[in-house]
Amino acid sequence: MSRFVADAIDLLLVLVAVGVAYLGVAATDFLLAPRRFAWPSPGALAIGILGWGLLTVYLTVAWSGTGRSVGKQVMGLRVERHDGGGLRLGHAFLRALLCAAFPIGLFWSLFSRDSASIQDLVVRTKVVYDWQPRVPTRPGDNGRTAAESDSA
């Protein structure tokens, strides 16, 4: 469940980015030729390619960096190699490509015994929980992790 929420968040982010890009283009158009301004209509394909490209790039960067995209950060998840290490750039790129091209594969994680999606199986990664519940011990605490707090 958490994976889907994370991915949904990421997707939403990318869509927003696409929207912003579109608006940017429109604004530039307007600035350059205000009198002849008309909303640009690049067509669905262009937008789809743009979105897909953005998604891939974004996911690659995120997973190769911390193993977390924004969505995964929110849900406290992380992408790791099968042996527990972080992803290299190429690895991440491959995975991002597969996720962007074949999102259906993610649903396999519901059924998989290891909660692995098709992409995970292909590139040998896994998605794990990566957060400690923060236990506020005293008012005014930022909340420390369970390991740091000194009271139960």
Partner: protein, 306 residues
Amino acid sequence: MGVEETVSADSQGGVTLNNRAAPPPADLVDLAERAFRTALGLASLVAGSVTAAVTEAIRGEVREPDDEPQPDDGESWPKPLAPILAGAALDVAIESARVGTRVTSAFGRSLRPWISFAKSPTFVRERLGRIRGRLYELDDRWRKEQQEDESIGSSFVGAVVPQIVDATLDQLDLTELVLSRVDFERVVDAVDLERAVSRVDVDAIVSGIDLDAIVARVDIEAIVRRVDLAAIAREVIDQLDLASIAKGVIDEIDLPQIMRESTGTMANETVEGVRVQSMIADRTVSRFVDRLLRREAERDESEGDA
């Protein structure tokens, strides 16, 4: 005259002594007259007092000290006959004495040349010389015995006077006398109160006081109840500049930081809430799917695969 200088009568008829010595007598006659008048004055004073006492005893009236009878004039009170007769007799005596002394002195003055003439012949002078010598001897003898006589006299006085004084004081109400005659203001003014007070050991006095017992008797509850605390509080609040105090407090406690932290904490808690919920959802879904697929083996959730 010389007598008036040493002794004078004040307005109330009492006698006060002035601290001035009389000048030496001009001559024997004057001295004699003065002595005679002193004796007469004393006698008249005594007589007056005795008469007044007798009269009082007879009549039973209460007299004030102011009403001491004036010598010889009896103006201040009704005139019984005896004092008048006595006064008249005394006055006659004084006058006759005065006349007598004057006549005598005049006669003596007139006689002086005759006396000196009578003294001039030698045999008279011899005689007179012998008489004078005898007189000197007698005088010397008297003077030698004078000391002894005087000491006898003074010891007698020393023995008798205390008894007389005692008897006198028994007749007087000394307390009343002191109260009426002593100016206590002046007495108190003369007393150095500061020195007297400085000799008082206040420490000892205070240490003798049991302050605990005193305070225990004070009903503090009643006092506190009477205090209008609401009014006091209101006044205090009015006096305080609450706005600046509040501003100072806010500046000190860094309210923005607290808000940031609480917001951050809120955000964290929200996120954590979401994460926990999604974890639970994950588990639920996976169990559901497992049951659906009739998988007996549990999923490996020890590592927390999402």
